[in-house]
Amino acid sequence: MPWNRPLIIGLLMVLLALTWWRLQPEEKEIRRSRLMMGTVVEIMAGGLKTSKLETAVDAAFAEISRLDKLLSSYHLDSDVSRLSQSDGGGKVAAETAEVLALGLDVAQQSGGAFDMTLGRLKSLWHFDEEASSVPERGAIAAALLGVGPAALALDGLEVYKQTPDLEIDLGGIAKGYAVDRAIAVLKEHGITSAAVNAGGDMYLLGQRPKRPWRIGIQHPRQKETVLETVQVRDQAVVTSGDYERFFELDGIRYHHIFDPQTGFPARGCQSVTIIADSVALGDALATAVFVKGPEAGLQLLAGYPRAEGLIVAADGSLYSSPGWAAYRVAP
């Protein structure tokens, strides 16, 4: 009967549409964590083929591991350890030079608030061991001798130390650099949606399969609370806080972000969050801003137009750079 045909055609079209919709390849997401660089490194990657995602993520972890061996003070034959042991400096790998170049730039811009030569100071405060104590003033003064942005000079792949017993510590920037390199490896594998998070220092590539990346910022004093939530794309988010590694003695909190001028933990802020184009830069800026305190920190950030920051001052009040609000989605 003729009047049935349109109905049948209509139903067939609906069926076809449904089948086509059902057959659409689904975006998958994998999430892998490993203990590396003394912290938890988590990589999320989204794409169509799980095997491709797994290969890329494994390669990214391998890159982080390689850089850890190069830049960590805990590895005895890393570039960093060699530089610290030698009297005059030495030749380093291209990656190390890259990190040092970036670090020196921030060190100079921040007037020494970010410093990569605090190796001796950090050993004094030994946070990794159980019985922590406040080092005595004399030891601290000795550890600060020769420290500062002028203490290191970089020429191509050659590093020069001004003082022989200067010890390099890239703790405030190495993790960030490793994350940046991991992201580069993921991109080389054709990944366009990923997140690499090394203990709170992270880079967000592209968007999540369904929507943009949303990052919560930990409240420095209330563990279960999120201070703010930001939405980012192709950017780094780095937070430095006085609550991550610390010990308390006689009611005073001693945390791991030192003021190179005093040799003691910086007292200006509770936490600093930076959004920047690279995690290495974000890492260095977060440390610098933390040390400088809210007002001077914001002034420093003004010199980096593509970086924005959120600062929780020591008294709990919030400061943010002018462009920060554009990223905020909550509250």
Binding site: E29, R31, S33, R34, L35, G38, T39, V40, E42, M44, D128, E129, E130, A195, N197, G199, G200, D201, M202, L204, R208, W213, R214, I215, G216, I217, Q218, K223, V226, T229, V237, V238, T239, G241, Y243, E244, R245, T273, A330
Partner: protein
Amino acid sequence: MKTPWQVMTGGDWLIVICLLGISLSGIAWLATAPGGTRVVVTSGGQTVFSAPLDLPQSVDLDGPLGPTHLVIDDQGVRITDSPCRAKICISMGPARHTGDLLACVPNRILVRIDSPAGGEEPYDLLSR
């Protein structure tokens, strides 16, 4: 004796078909529904333990330094004892939300909360 089909009436078939429908759709629904939130523990990249977050239990996880004790209860999952020196893992407190992580780095124990795809969290990652 008659075979079952000879005995069964139309009404019987109706009942059987309805019951089959209920049970089969139940099975299909369960097969596709996301599982509950789980606690996944890895050590050295290998998964060594996995359990639902909503079932209280406690377990010892072995690492190179010895056993790390994990407790799952209504507070979430937390580490209550570990052979490491600094015991940072214990001070991390309970993990409850998808994506939360606990770790005893010296003992190479990594605990994370996984949820099935579609967990609607307010944020994807926490910057701390």
